[in-house]
C-alpha cells in the first residue's frame, strides 16, 4: 500500500531540547576523523566569531534523525522501517550549532511520492535554539522500498 498523500503538510510537536555539549562535539569530530580546531578549541572558535566550539556541519543529523522517529513510527502513517533507505540529505544553515545550544526539532512531512512501488517521503526537521532562534533545517528524503510480491 502506498503511503497516504493526505499526510503531506502534517507537522509534529517540537521535541524536548537536546543540550549540545563540548565533549559530544569532540566525540563526533573524532569519529569523522576531522581535526578542525573549531570543533575542540574554544580560542579558535571564538577567533572565528563563534561563542563556543561549533559542531561539524552534519552533526545536527544526530538530533533531527532522532526527532524524525515521531514520523517514522507514526502508527497512522504506517511506514515499514525495515524497508527504509536514506535517499537524500540536505542542510540549510542559519548559523552553525555550538556547545551550549539547547535544540528543539519540529518535524514535518514535506512530500510523499510513489513510483514503481517505492515510496519517497521527505521529512523536514526545523531546529530552534532555547531563545527561539532558527539554527538549521534538515531535509531528509527516505525511500521505502516496495515489499516483496508487490
Amino acid at each position: 500500500m502506498p503511503l497516504d498523500q493526505s499526510f503531506v503538510g502534517r507537522t509534529y510537536p517540537p521535541t524536548e531540547p537536546y543540550e549540545v555539549g563540548r565533549e559530544k562535539i569532540r566525540e563526533f569530530a573524532e569519529a569523522i576523523g576531522d581535526a578542525n580546531p573549531a570543533y575542540t578549541d574554544q580560542r579558535t572558535a571564538k577567533a572565528l566569531g563563534h561563542p563556543d566550539v561549533i559542531a561539524p556541519p552534519t552533526f545536527p543529523f544526530a538530533i533531527t534523525y532522532r526527532a524524525a522517529a515521531q514520523v517514522v513510527n507514526d502508527p497512522d502513517l504506517g511506514l515499514d522501517f525495515s524497508r527504509v533507505v536514506h535517499g537524500d540529505q540536505k542542510f540549510t544553515y542559519i548559523r552553525p550549532v555550538h556547545a551550549g545550544d539547547r535544540l528543539s526539532v519540529t518535524c514535518a512531512i514535506e512530500a510523499i511520492k510513489s513510483m514503481a512501488g517505492n515510496d519517497f517521503i521527505t521529512i523536514t526537521g526545523t531546529v530552534h535554539d532555547q531563545y527561539g532562534g532558527h539554527v538549521v533545517t534538515s531535509t531528509m528524503m527516505l525511500v521505502v522500498r516496495a515489499a516483496e510480491g508487490e
Binding site: 566525540e27 563526533f28 573524532e30 569519529a31 569523522i32 576523523g33 576531522d34 578542525n36 580546531p37 573549531a38 570543533y39 579558535t44 577567533a47 572565528l48 566569531g49 563563534h50 561549533i54 561539524p56 556541519p57 552534519t58 543529523f61 544526530a62 534523525y65 532522532r66 533507505v85 536514506h86 535517499g87 537524500d88 540529505q89 540536505k90 542542510f91 540549510t92 544553515y93 548559523r95 552553525p96 531535509t139
Partner: protein
C-alpha cells in the same frame, strides 16, 4: 590559528585540495557510537547480507561528513557552510580486512553566486573504489 578564506581570492573553477579518507570496520563502530545510528547494516556482516547487501556498508552520513571536510578545511571556518546537500546513490562497502575502503573527495568552485553575500557554490566529487558514491554533492559557502 584558523583564518577565513576571502571571497575575492576565489574564482569559478578554483580547485579545492582533495582528501582521502580510509574507512575500516572500527571507523564505522566509532561513528555508530558518536552519531547514535546503530543500524546493523553498518557493523553486522550477517545481517547486511541477509538484507541483500554485498557486505557491511558505511553510514551514508559518515560519507557526507567526510566529503564536506574538503570545504571546511578550505574555507577556514566550518561555520561558513550555509547549505549542504547530497544524494546517496551507491553504498561504500567496507570489507572486514585491514584495508577497509577508501573515500576520495575532490571539489571545485562551480560558481560565485552573490557578490553582496559573498557566497560561492562548491561541487564535490566523492568516490570509493573508482565509483561515485554521492549524487550531486554540493555546498554553498559564505566567504569572508
Amino acid at each position: 590559528m584558523a583564518t577565513r578564506l576571502k571571497y575575492d581570492e576565489v574564482e569559478a573553477g578554483t580547485e579545492l585540495p582533495p582528501l582521502t579518507v580510509p574507512v575500516t570496520r572500527a571507523t564505522l563502530v566509532q561513528y555508530a557510537g558518536a552519531s547514535g545510528d546503530f543500524n546493523p547494516i553498518h557493523w553486522n556482516e550477517k545481517f547486511a547480507k541477509e538484507v541483500g547487501l554485498p557486505d557491511v556498508i558505511a553510514h551514508g552520513m559518515f560519507t557526507m561528513a567526510s566529503a564536506i571536510r574538503v570545504v571546511t578545511d578550505w574555507a577556514g571556518d566550518p561555520g561558513a557552510v550555509v547549505e549542504y546537500g547530497v544524494r546517496f546513490t551507491k553504498p561504500v562497502v567496507v570489507p572486514n580486512d585491514d584495508k577497509g575502503a577508501v573515500i576520495e573527495v575532490s571539489g571545485k568552485v562551480a560558481a560565485k553566486l552573490d557578490d553582496e553575500a559573498r557566497t560561492v557554490r562548491v561541487d564535490l566529487t566523492v568516490t570509493a573504489g573508482g565509483q561515485k558514491v554521492l549524487g550531486q554533492p554540493r555546498a554553498v559557502v559564505q566567504l569572508a
